[in-house]
Symmetry: C2
Subunit: 388 residues, 2 copies
Amino acid sequence: MNTQHTLTVHTQSHDYPIFITASGDCRAFTEQSAQDNALAALDLATPIVPYIKGRQVLIVTNDLIAPLYLKGLQERLAQAGFDVRACVLPDGEQFKNQDSINAIYDALMQAHFARDCTLVALGGGVIGDMTGFAAASFMRGVNFIQVPTTLLAQVDSSVGGKTGINHALGKNMIGAFWQPVAVLADMATFATLPPREFAAGMAEVIKYALIMDAEFLAWLENHADKILAKDGETLAQMVHRCCDYKAQIVAADERESGKRALLNFGHTFGHVIETHQGYGAWLHGEAVAAGMVQALVMSYKLGLISLDDVRRVVALIERFELPVQPPKIAVDEALSLMGHDKKVQQGKIRLVLLRALGDAFVTADFDMAILNEVLTSVSDVLSEKNDV
Amino acid sequence: MNTQHTLTVHTQSHDYPIFITASGDCRAFTEQSAQDNALAALDLATPIVPYIKGRQVLIVTNDLIAPLYLKGLQERLAQAGFDVRACVLPDGEQFKNQDSINAIYDALMQAHFARDCTLVALGGGVIGDMTGFAAASFMRGVNFIQVPTTLLAQVDSSVGGKTGINHALGKNMIGAFWQPVAVLADMATFATLPPREFAAGMAEVIKYALIMDAEFLAWLENHADKILAKDGETLAQMVHRCCDYKAQIVAADERESGKRALLNFGHTFGHVIETHQGYGAWLHGEAVAAGMVQALVMSYKLGLISLDDVRRVVALIERFELPVQPPKIAVDEALSLMGHDKKVQQGKIRLVLLRALGDAFVTADFDMAILNEVLTSVSDVLSEKNDV
């Protein structure tokens, strides 16, 4: 099987392609030898070579991904004639900070990289965000290619041009809008992706269905078995659809004044969970999953959607082994954490809610008592499903 | 006297005004009481108020400028209803680094600044560059106003959208293109500008004449007395013309692929001086002055301009008490420092040279032996003027 979908993303600065490929075996390997063979055969270089400007390439990755994919990519690019360096950062959201960005700058400066160099992000969303911000700010902007190796990064951070790092007092507070020149999403990288990370990515996939397209929600329900079995073509279709949804939103609104805010569905609640638990304790997608349930329950309590709608989505989220309830967080603390949220304008809390499955909107006009209820607990609503 | 020139700068993202005013006394004060009165009367707030978005304002300045202008600006903005904070950084190019940017981020985060906040840069080019980069990267980009208080910043860094900081291994290596929403250049701030800083700014003024307009060179020669006497209307005309030259270049070429490179006249040589001497030992404008003489001598040795041309410019540079010769730097070291220069593409050294006074071009096609001669010394050519 060697499937390839190509999607063109339109942005203010330029258009760029996303190549969605299933060039190898996408199933998780239990035998080391099978994994080694698959990794040796995987070619992540050829599709991106036409997009490398100049001769100097820095691959930025982390210490989890480097043993899997770095050597193969580095060797193939070197064979293609490039001067290839690598910057291997420690893995984890807690390293999405200025120190890591400085390590990238140092690698670029020490190797005398010029303005026509290219940075390649090889890894998940953290690596993509940091590499993108380094590319945006090195010499006021250099060429940048994404090779996302997690489902989350493929369907979320590889489209839209958001790059950045965390500040000690808030997530993603420092960054830039900077578009890649190409993205390569190969389903074969899921073979080495831990199941918990794959599930976390599914949270964002479900999000697109909820905010954009009820038909896609049905598609996910119908294809859940194939997705869980890591069928390459099914995964490629799924990733393609998600990138397409996001590309539509981003093309309409590159600077997040309007429609782009819908992508934050589940995220304002999710950020509370992530910040309260400390970065890394909950995966981003896990926090988003529980956050989406909070947003669904809120929409239900406001009379916007039915209990059946909530029930249906909760079942799908559970099918992909994602959490449907947040940890216990005091309401005052949650509200205070929402007040620090960068999605807040003029001190008012703005939430993304659903009018119907597949139809989201942003509002700051809701009963604070309902928000308090939701922040206190969603288990009253979730347990109602057993009562029926 | 209350003169105001307004220039509109066109950029890819938006247009913005530069207000060039002479709202007070521009002469240097010898008496403290006279200075105190002038500072109390100076209103830097009113022209910028219409450009402040939201309610939250952070003024970024340094410990030299703060005692002069911060209190007046802060009070006037507070009276106009804004929530005004200040971030006072240590003065000097050696603090144009990540630590200072982090101090700005910390101030913004601790005061819970939102995406609709405004940053005001109050100071010279270093403050402007750092504040601009912080504005470009805080929440992926917020509103930014420049109030340049040095001649150099008024004629150079306040137009063009270049922002950034230094890396330990190179000047201005980290940054972004980010345009202000308004610039206020008040000639009255020259009353407190040290003579050496004023002279350094004149280096960039002379640069515009050399690369853009021989007629402006004659204007500077004819108005040198008034400029040195700090005549407000003359200074405003001069700043207006420089901003206009730069705005023309920037509008034609926002991303420095072509014409904008002409602005680097004298800068490749100048960067060698600055880097060799350590940031801060030579002022940027002083290094540019000596660097321009090197570029003039190179142009002369290549048969492009006459010895009279060199002589005429050297006389003007000396009139404004700027250095015309670089410090002693070994040629190998100078070439190596040029190799690190970010203006170098593919390892080739590119220089801005003159075809005639007022007519510059970029070239990588020159005899390296001549560059070696120029880097060894320019005193052979400068002393020829005494032989004639």
